[in-house]
Amino acid sequence: MTTRLGEFEQLLLFALVRLGDNAYGVTIRREIESRAGRSVSSGAIHTAMERLESRGYVTSAVGEPTPRRGGKRKKFYRIQRAGAEALSRSYDALHEMAKGLRPKLADLTAQKPATR
């Protein structure tokens, strides 16, 4: 069957859902940075998107060049049905696994680990 989504890929797809029509390198990067607290490189975004695109999870479209980009064009990404399904599956799995564990996690992070 289809490969599972990695954590980074999940972050990317969530960003696409959030950003809708305005998802391209800069907005995706800033979205992930501000919400997830992770600084990712533009190169990594495009590489990962290419991989997602090859699996049919996202599509891309090239936009117009703007002067603020030194005349360079933007590459917009849009999540596809297959991508949304994969994301749901991954999120559901994670959600299912995490169910009810919040208090326990809080306990574990609060105290020092006993061994190792």
């Binding site: 391209y24 390198g25 800069v26 990067r29 800033r30 490189s41 533009s42 190169g43 990594a44 975004i45 495009h46 590489t47 290419e50 060049p65 703007t66 002067p67 603020r68 980009r69 030194g70 360079k72 064009r73 933007k74 590459k75």
Partner: protein, 884 residues
């Protein structure tokens, strides 16, 4: 591009390293975010750090599409030094396994490093090495300036020196030195020694301690002091007196007077090597204020700036010019002070050395680019090895690190080989010594130079290693594994990168070649310049007369007798004497005006150099007599005053009139001696080929007693006369030495020796650059052609003619060369203005040079492209096809 605020180099790096399909978007993303969000919010420095971190992360992310390696496969105890050491050993093994590559890479690098080390060691010795004086930063050399006469640095007259020393408030002390040649007799044959008169405190101003005995005492330059003491220069003491430690107390006979040696000075320059024997300059209250002869130094009081000290002396000068009308200052007397750091090298030497250092810098860059290209080709060939290592879990960082380590190892090894080359080059440079570059004999490899060399080697390694380190792991891992060794084709990006590097090499070498071309053209112009006198078959030599010849006409009688004897030699056409030879830096000058326009000209008195000459001087040097007559052997200076003047001076004093028979005032403003102009002669470039012809006033030698310099015009090789001259002079006076014997041609070529030295070195560097660039073009072209062997086979099999295929290949191969020439021409245009001061007769934008160099480089590039193409055509198409 100018309104894009992101760092140019970073963007270039991205352009080079990113794969084509995403390049535009990634660069655009980073630029946009940088300009819109980061720069406005984080400030300049933080924004730049952000930008660079994203450059490196984007490049790193894109260069290798591999999963992160499992932790267990990374080296345990992942200490930086452990991996570094592993990398070095791995590099050394790799280099040893591939001796051909290693040899070429090392040689390329060593050429660049060696040239840099050699020139840097010259720069260090000449410009950077500290002076041998205590607290040298407070030492200055003092000149007067006369803006009204266009003099930018005049030596001081003896009375002015004394007054400045007595009246200043900002100087700790001043010292003065006056060079004078003396005859040393009493120990074997007579010998001319370079002597200097110095004020008694001179060496105390410099803070120099003698290595034997003592320096002069305060009272030893006072009038009436008859002690007659002397100090020896280190070199003279060592060579002439075998370094005898008990030299103090010995007696020397100089110009027929006895002097007691009191000490020996340490080696060092400047000043300490300015003479072989130093004697105290006894103060002469009657000395002429218009006689600018003293080289003067001063030590500033602590905390006093040069500007403050100069202003202080200018105030003294102001008082002096009011007090002494003979100073005749229409304008003000200014003071110029050169800090000790400027003493050793003149401005022109300084500039020339920086230009040379720049040139070898370019050469090193070319070598680095070449090496980068070699490393890239090697990495392509080792793609499979890289792929296997990656598949086994090496991270991309580790692989890049390893590649960089290899380049750095090459850099260090290259430094070693480069040192050997530099050692040879330094010996060569020393043997080429043009005479005008101070301290050249002391140039050597020392600690600073070694540090410099190693630094240059490491830097070269980094520059050459960065490109492949970023680039290599990008090539598709799977295809590399699948295709095995046959897959060593290199990606499209790598091909383009290599073409770019070749273009860069061509551009850099064009810049160097243009520089060399401009100097060569200048030299050509200089040797074609009309110097106004002839040098072929002319012999030059000097004779020093001791003070016993000062009275009456004794000197000129001896000179005339000697000339008569010389002219009696069958080989000799003419012979003459002059008190200051052409092309020498020495000069004697006077103000001169026409008597009838004296008042009118008082505002701007022409300043002419004057020369004592014997009657045959013009004929001997081939200077044409334009009007009137020249002197006879019977003419005596000042009885009556008669002069011959040069053409330009005549036009200045009597425009559009016949100057012969008119009255001029000599030493205008000082003595105002009326003199009759009896003739006009052609102009000559006396001060050197690069200067304009001098305004000249000629005065008969008769009755004067200056040390004469002789010029002999022979019908054959003038040096053949030398053996006959000494005995001939000895018959007239056995105590007179003949020195400075040279052919006049040698004097001319010595006067342009600095220029020739610069030209030769720059030409050598440009030649090396050309060779490296051609090797680069050739290497890339051969590689591409080999790769396309099967394609060529198909083309030929399908009926393409050999010529058309070759044309196609060559045309493609020439693209980077042509681009490089274009870019290089623009670069040269920008850089060559730094050369402007070294040029003569042509502009820094000289079109002939540019076109010539571009043609040369283009043709050489064509050959480098043609040869591999031609070789590929020789392959049998059947074999070529089967290879596929």
């Amino acid at each position: 591009m100018s309104d894009n605020p992101s760092p140019l180099i970073g963007r270039l790096l991205l352009r080079l390293a990113l794969p084509r399909q995403d390049r535009e978007f990634i660069i655009g993303d980073i630029d946009e975010e940088f300009a819109e969000h980061i720069l406005p919010n984080r400030g300049w420095l933080a924004a730049r750090i952000w930008y660079w971190s994203h450059v490196f992360r984007s490049v790193g992310n894109r260069t290798l599409r591999l999963p992160r390696s499992p932790r267990m496969l990374r080296p345990r105890g992942d200490r930086f030094m452990t991996t570094t050491w592993m990398d070095i050993r791995h590099s050394l093994r790799g280099l040893a396994k591939n001796p051909g590559f290693t040899l070429i890479a090392l040689l390329t690098l060593a050429l660049g490093i060696g040239a840099n080390t050699a020139i840097f060691s010259v720069v260090y010795a000449v410009l950077l090495r500290p002076l041998p004086f205590g607290d040298a930063e407070r030492l200055v050399r003092v000149f007067e300036t006369r803006p009204d006469r266009g003099w930018e640095g005049v030596s001081l007259s003896r009375p002015n020196f004394r007054d400045y020393r007595a009246q200043n408030r900002t100087l700790e002390d001043m010292g003065a030195m006056l060079g004078t040649d003396m005859n040393m007799t009493g120990s074997g044959y007579p010998e001319r020694v370079r002597g200097a008169l110095v004020s008694a405190g001179f060496f105390r101003v410099l803070r120099v301690d003698p290595i034997v005995g003592r320096t002069f005492l305060r009272e030893e330059d006072e009038p009436g002091n008859e002690t007659r003491v002397a100090l020896l220069n280190y070199e003279f003491w060592r060579t002439r007196f075998s370094g005898e430690p008990a030299i103090a107390g010995t007696t020397l006979t100089l110009d027929d007077e006895n002097y007691t040696v009191v000490g020996v000075l340490p080696p060092g320059e400047p000043w300490l090597d300015g003479a072989q024997v130093f004697i105290p300059m006894v103060r002469n209250p009657a000395a002429n204020r218009g006689n600018f002869i003293l080289g003067t130094i001063a030590r500033l009081k602590p905390g006093v700036s040069i500007a403050a000290a100069a202003a202080d002396l200018e105030a003294v000068a102001e008082r002096l010019s009011q007090q002494y009308p003979e100073l005749q200052t229409q304008g003000r007397i200014g003071i110029r002070m050169d800090p000790a750091s400027d003493w050793v090298a003149s401005d022109s030497v300084r500039r020339a050395l920086w230009v040379l250092l720049g040139a070898v810098g370019f050469l090193l860059l070319i070598a680095c680019v070449n090496l980068a290209n070699l490393l890239l080709a090697r990495a392509t060939a080792r793609q499979r090895e890289t792929a296997v290592r990656a598949a086994l879990g090496a991270s991309r960082g580790r692989i890049s690190q390893q590649l960089l380590a290899e380049a750095l190892t090459l850099g260090v090894l290259g430094s070693g080989v480069g040192l050997f080359l530099a050692f040879g080059a330094i010996r060569l440079v020393r043997s080429l010594d043009p005479g005008g570059i101070p301290r050249l004999a002391d140039v050597s490899l020392n600690g600073w130079v070694l540090v410099f060399t190693l630094a240059v080697g490491l830097l070269s390694g980094v520059i050459a290693g960065l490109v492949p380190a970023f680039q290599v792991p990008y090539a598709g891992l799977l295809s590399a594994l699948r295709e095995g060794d046959r897959g060593a084709t290199g990606s499209r990006i790598q091909q383009r990168l290599r073409s770019w590097l070749v273009g860069l090499e061509v551009a850099l070498s064009l810049i160097l070649l243009v520089g060399a071309g401009l100097l060569i053209r200048s030299f050509g112009e200089l040797s074609r310049v009309d110097r106004g006198f002839r040098t072929e078959n002319r012999l030059f030599f000097s004779v020093t007369l001791p003070p016993t010849y000062d009275e009456g006409t004794r000197a000129s009688e001896l000179i005339n007798q000697f000339i008569a004897r010389i002219e009696a030699i069958p080989l000799v056409v003419n012979a003459a004497a002059v008190h200051i030879p052409p092309l020498s830096q020495g000069s004697t000058g006077m103000g001169i005006v026409s008597a009838e326009r004296a008042a009118e000209m008082a505002e701007s008195v022409p300043w002419a150099s004057w020369r004592l000459i014997t009657d045959d001087y013009f004929r001997t040097l081939g200077i044409p007599l334009l009007k009137g007559r020249t002197f006879t052997a019977a003419d005596i200076v000042g009885e009556p005053w008669q002069v011959v003047i040069s053409d330009r001076l005549a036009n200045l004093l009597w425009p559009d009139q016949d100057p012969v028979g008119r009255q001029a005032l000599l030493w205008a403003g000082q003595d105002d001696l009326p003199a009759e102009v009896i003739g006009v002669v052609g102009d000559m470039r006396e001060r050197g080929l690069e200067d304009d012809p001098t305004l000249a006033v000629y005065i008969p030698y008769g009755g004067a007693s200056w040390h004469p310099n002789f010029v002999v015009y022979a019908a054959g090789d003038p040096l053949a006369l030398v053996p006959t001259l000494r005995p001939m002079l000895a018959e007239l006076d056995p105590n007179l030495p003949i020195t400075n014997i040279r052919s006049f041609d040698d004097m001319v070529s010595a006067s342009v020796a600095d220029r020739r030295f610069n030209m030769m070195l720059l030409t050598v560097f440009a030649g090396l650059a050309l060779v490296l660039a051609l090797a680069g073009i050739y290497g890339v072209q051969s590689y591409l052609v080999t790769r396309r062997t099967s394609e060529i086979g198909i083309r030929v099999a399908l009926g393409a003619s050999g010529g058309s295929v070759i044309r196609h290949i060559v045309a493609q191969g020439m693209i980077p060369t042509v681009m490089g020439i274009g870019i290089g021409a623009l670069g040269a245009f920008g850089v060559s203005r730094f050369l402007a001061s070294l040029l003569f007769g042509i502009a820094a934008t000289d079109i002939v040079t540019y076109v010539g160099v571009a043609t040369l480089l283009g043709l050489a590039g064509l050959v480098s492209c043609y040869v591999p193409a031609r070789r590929a055509m020789k392959v049998d198409p059947v074999i070529a096809l089967r290879e596929e």
